[in-house]
Symmetry: C3
């Protein structure tokens, strides 16, 4: 099969095709067998993956690392820029770090608080660069994993009505619609007015033919939804970097909390997804409901990232 | 041989049997050959170990990682919760982290400042959970390694008189007697009155048939001892987390310092153990004495953890 | 061939011989084939490398780790002492950490803010200890990588005129001349007077027969140079540890900035090297010049460290 990912960067879902997504999903289904057997393959035993996390991560970094290990590969890099010269006095530039890591690794996964940093890194590094989340821009591998989760649960993406609930500035909110646009879906962007989807992204979604509308709550649409994709509102600013202490955490306004009561009013088959971590927008008593798919969604990250890695390495 | 550890959690030594300990020790003796040849086996080449250190560690984390590497396995996780979403604004819950890591790793080693966290984690994770130290509760793998060290040096545990000297609130002080209770030993808990063994632990030790007594110093027993197991007094509170700067470190009171002079007054065959790190309770000029076994004790951590891992993985 | 590195520590270039360097270079040329194919060998598949970074690093740590992975080995250790008991309340001693790591790894790479720490570590650890930079003392593997870079570009070291520009207290400035002294070179130490080469190092260089002179600028020598090896001036004090915020960073004085204009006045074949990270002493518009070899220099770190590791492990 033609592999459009071989030796390429993976920094955006702009321009992604349905066939591209399908190729990843087919590969991920194969990879899932390895994950479910809890074993390791040798597919990338000869490769070293660089991980450059200029911003903290739990799921994304660990699932990439787990994916690389399950493919037999090795990992070099950092989980915290403070352990590097980027985080000290030198404030070493992204470009200089990438020139270096290009020599140390065969592909580089980068998370960065600044939008566009992975694309910038890709102009420097000769090896493939994978965007693991950049500022308020994109988080393409998360979106692929999310659509994969919908596909696994629903059997098909076509026909789905999906509500993206929460702060529409967040990067996952941008990559996911780009993927959904390749299918026959309808997407609701549900948020407070001051956290609405930014205009340039609305223009982008129109350009790729996404069917969508903006809402300030789930009023009148809840019973039609197949998927609620939830994030927090007023999440901390990425561009300010890590916020270790937040003195007064605002409570999430009621319309953006998805609790048992709302789920019980929705379709019986509805699924609730969340990229995690969560705060109060998703109470823990939802975890035991049939609709709760966010932990499965998180775990799908390994098979999907195995697929993306193996495709990028042309295996 | 029957393997009671296969696919099981390892979070406490409550309920441990002598035959269980002996199985670990026999396995560790085999593993020690690999360590001594400084080579790697392939026993767990297909497995990924998750390490979740919510509290700093040197020996325990590294010896688990070294053990996993020497068995051919891979490692994913974190040495510092600040590099994860548990350590930032989100204060992601232990449960959510475990739901996630369950998908990324085939067993999870967890250290946590809160007592009971590994047991709690084990209720969430389907994969085996190993307690690498939880608050003021237990540190079971350390205790196994400690008894293994006694066995290697003394040839037998039965008949040993062991003094546990220092703050009896510390977790190692609780796991070790649970293991020693499976043998014919006599244990002295030696500490200042305000750092005496907590009542619930005394009840626990009585329940498992441990022969023990409490003391405020070594007066009258020093010459009878076979093993001095030493820890500091007034060690920093685990529940307060990492204490980076301590303005006025109190000096250890004389009765709880084990120096050359005291060791010279003890049996010629006495051995001094310490889980490390140490402060002033164990002066460095003891290192050159024949009685000093704490570095050997630390190094035994690799073979013992290899044994525990291989047994848990049923290999 | 005789291998003088087998099972030995590698903590200083004092006493290094030309034939020793040549052996590393020949081995590195072989290793470069593995790096260039972006593959992994199995040479050290049975070994575990300990990395003990008591001071932050980007290039050195990652290139050692990449080197070990490309040789098939495993890695255990820490990139930040704050994740260990050395960085907390206990301030665990270097000796105690080394006693421990000696049991966990088959060789130990150590970076430390204190001069002489790796040599001290080597007296404790039975396994080989490799100095990855100690305070203001030495950085031997960096120097070997630097001379290797010169050799690759120039074809020969003999006859080269090399200017070491910047703060002469820095550790790279000490190891590099020790290596260059084994060849027929002439070295200029170019720095502000208050950052001149310390007298004990001048004595050391005289002892090993280095041809050198001290300068306060490049006046009168620029057109003769074959290599400019650049570092910053007034770089932060190593002994003060990591300096996360520097309120007023002084600008590098003009004589110690190497810009396009100066390079254009030098020999057409001149090469500019820098151990990185850089600040303003090396403007980024130099990167596109033919003379810029610092990224290649950084990347050579992997092959050279693979060579050093394989020689130390006697493979």
């Amino acid at each position: 099969m033609d592999n459009p990912f071989a030796a390429k960067d993976f920094v955006t879902l702009k321009g992604i095709k349905r066939t591209d997504l399908e190729l990843i999903f087919e590969t991920a289904l194969e990879m899932e067998k390895i994950v479910e057997k809890r074993t390791r393959a040798d597919l990338l035993h000869d490769k070293v993956l660089g991980v450059a996390f200029f911003q903290v991560s739990t799921r994304t970094r660990m699932s990439f690392e787990s994916a690389m290990l399950r493919l037999g590969g090795g990992i070099v890099g950092f989980a915290d820029p403070k352990t590097t010269r980027s985080g000290d006095y030198y404030s070493e530039s992204l470009q200089d770090v990438m020139h270096m890591m290009n020599g140390y690794a065969d592909a580089i996964v980068i998370r960065h608080p600044q939008s566009g940093a992975p694309a910038e890194a890709a102009t420097v590094a000769e090896v493939p660069v994978i965007n693991a989340g950049d500022g308020y821009n994109e988080h393409p591998t998360q979106a692929v994993q999310d659509v994969y989760t919908m596909l696994k649960v629903k059997g098909s993406i076509d026909g789905l009505k999906v509500a993206l609930v929460g702060d529409q500035n967040m990067r996952v909110m941008h990559s996911l619609p780009l993927a959904l646009a390749q299918y026959n879906t309808h997407v609701y962007f549900v948020s407070p007015k001051d956290q609405a989807m930014p205009q340039p992204w609305l223009a982008e979604f129109t350009k790729v033919g996404l069917s969508f509308e903006q809402r300030i709550d789930l009023e009148g649409i809840l019973s039609d939804l197949d998927v609620i994709y939830l994030m927090g509102t007023k999440t901390p600013s990425y561009s300010e970097g890590r916020t270790e202490v937040m003195l007064e955490r605002p409570q999430t306004p009621q319309p953006y909390i998805i609790n048992r009561e709302k789920i019980n009013r929705a379709k019986k088959s509805i699924i609730v997804m969340h990229p995690l971590p969560r705060v109060d927008e998703l109470p823990v008593d939802v975890d035991s409901m049939d609709a709760a798919f966010y932990f499965k969604q998180a775990n799908n990250g390994v098979a999907v990232r195995m697929a993306i890695l193996s495709l990028i390495f042309g295996r």
